[in-house]
Amino acid sequence: MKDIVIRTVCRVIVPFVQVYGLYVIFHGHLSPGGGFAGGAILGSSMVLFALSFHLEAGAQKLGHETSSYLESGGGIWYILIGLLGLALGSNFLTNRAAGLGFGLPGQLFSGGMIFLLSLGIGVKVASTMFTLFYNLSEEEGSGGDHQ
C-alpha cells in the first residue's frame, strides 16, 4: 500500500499498539487479558505494519526464521517453567505451592510464575500469528501450526 496517510498513521500507531500488547501480556494476572490476548495484539501490530508498508519490509523487521524460533521458544519456555515446579520438588506447573515468591495482590510481581508464563504465551501467539499471516499471504501454508 502506498498511501502516505496510512503509512504515517501506522508508523505512529504501531509502537503504541505494541506497548499496549505488552501491557496486556504483563498484566494478565491483574486485569482482563493475558498471554493470548496480548500476544494477539502484538502479533496484529506486526501484521498491520507488514500490511501498511510492504510484506518484505515486515519480513525484515521479523524474519521467518526468527519468527519460528520465537514460536518454538515460547512453547519450550512454557514447558521449562512447568518443569521448574518439578525441579522445586512439587508438581508440574506448580506455582505457590512450590514456594515461589508472591508479592502484594495488585502488584506486577504478585503471581509467581504466571507473569513469565504469560510472556511465553504472548511471544508464541504473536510470532504464530505473524508466521501464519506470512504463510497465507505468500501462499506457502506449511500446515504446521498448532496451539
Binding site: L132, L136, S142
Partner: protein, 125 residues
Amino acid sequence: MEIISRLLENYYYFVSMVLFIIGIHTMLTHSNLIKKVIGMNIMDTSIFLFFVSIGYRRGGMAPIIQPGVEAEMYVNPLPSALILTGIVVAVSVTAYALSLIVELYKQYGTCCANEIAQIRAREES
C-alpha cells in the same frame, strides 16, 4: 406463554443454539470451502457464547481480586478462561483450514467443493 417467557429469560442459550444451527447449516449447504470455514467459526463461536453465558452473572464484576468485594459479586472466571483456550484452538484450526484451502486452490483452481469433485471425477474417468 411459559415457553416464551423462559426463552426470553434464557435468550442467550437460545441465540447460541440458533447460531450453532446456522453454523452447521453453513458448513453443510455451502459448496464454497471458505464459507464452510466461516460456518465452522460461527458454530465454534456459538459454543463459546454458550459457555461464557453459563458463567455470566448479571451485574457481576470482572473476576479480579479486589479488597472488600464479596466472592458472589464476581463473574465466574472459569468459562471465560476455558473459552480463551477454545478460541486459540478455533483460531489455529481456522488458520490450518485456510492454508489447506489455499493449497487446494493452487491445485484445482477453485474453492468450490462440487467443482473439485467434478474435476476429480473427470480426471479419474
